[in-house]
């Protein structure tokens, strides 16, 4: 059974809370404690966990180690997917560092790309950096499935089209700007401009 997208998102968040919680002396956690930490309703936590076939008991709640093991089995193993970061400016390098130094991250960055020749055939934080024109070749060769876009470019749509043709299955876009992504690609946008527009609107009311 494929879980709903929102459930997977919350499982990822439960895991993060539980990873910290496991170092406390308390071997059990109640759904309302988990819910409180994530600012959601306890019934939501119970429903999500039930979808994985787990139910707690009224007296003790859920055993933390069991819960963690189940979530780990349901979500993919660490470093099981290959990713690339496109654009090695400040933002790209900061994400590369964040992902490579995090042992639990589900992806492993196999190569990075930029348009600046000074990076070509050099390593950045131990990862090979290539000319962006080599995207189709290297993505297929290295079996990369996830692309993280950190490049300010007028040709961003061309890059999306190349990624699609090269077999990329998921894209995270950090660059503001309307782009067309085919439906079969899992797509997520982190758009600071829209967020700031929203925030300014609501705090001005």
């Amino acid at each position: 059974m494929i879980l709903p997208s929102k459930t997977v998102e919350r499982l990822s968040q439960y895991r993060r809370v539980l990873q910290k919680y496991q170092y406390l002396s308390e071997p059990y956690i109640f759904s309302h404690d988990l819910a409180k930490l994530l600012r959601i309703k306890p019934v939501q936590v119970r429903r999500d966990l039930m979808l994985m076939g787990i139910s707690g008991n009224y007296r003790n709640g859920y055993r933390v180690t069991d819960l963690l093991a189940s979530i780990n089995t349901t979500l993919t193993f660490p470093k099981s997917q290959f990713a690339t970061i496109i654009g090695m400016g400040n933002l790209g390098q900061s994400l590369l560092k964040h992902i490579s130094t995090n042992p639990e991250c589900p992806v492993s960055v196999k190569a990075v790309f930029d348009t600046n020749p000074k990076y070509f055939n050099h390593q950045i934080l131990g990862i090979d950096c290539y000319d962006i024109t080599r995207l189709p070749e290297m993505i297929k060769k290295l079996n990369i499935k996830i692309a993280i876009l950190c490049l300010v470019s007028e040709d961003i749509q061309t890059i999306i089209d190349i990624l699609n043709d090269s077999g990329i299955k998921g894209i995270v876009n950090y660059i503001a700007g309307p782009i067309r992504v085919p439906d079969h690609i899992y797509f997520k946008e982190y758009d600071i401009r829209t967020t700031l527009d929203e925030m300014s609107y609501f705090i001005s009311q």
Copy 2:
């Protein structure tokens, strides 16, 4: 009338599309063209614009300049809110650059903060950088209402509490980790770890 959050988000996106569109020779745009560019349904576009009191006509659609003017009036004016970025690593500096070089951005960064003494009382991209211990003082003094968190810290919850006590009304968090934010603060999380967990799950199915 306060617009729904999702409508405001889409207004921001319509504006971005229209800003590009206005340089084309076509003075009108149809709701289905706007919808297609943003991968939503035309009826959604028409509903959002009707909430602002705008309706197009069947023959020509909407006049681009009128639409842009209305959205500009509805959303806040450029640089009308004061913001800060906390954490001047690669990520913080890249966001500072992105926001300060974008004339349409609704916020103006008035100060930045870090824990590293090498930055104290220096300017980064023309903006004063302060010791993070001066957060409560400077936020009040400079009338800052939005905080963008780019700091990896064990004490992130303490920082959130300080921001709340200092009168911050909106927080964008780039740092993974469960934090508790009071309900009266407008809060948005850009969490690459959860996104990658979700993406890895779905493309592995």
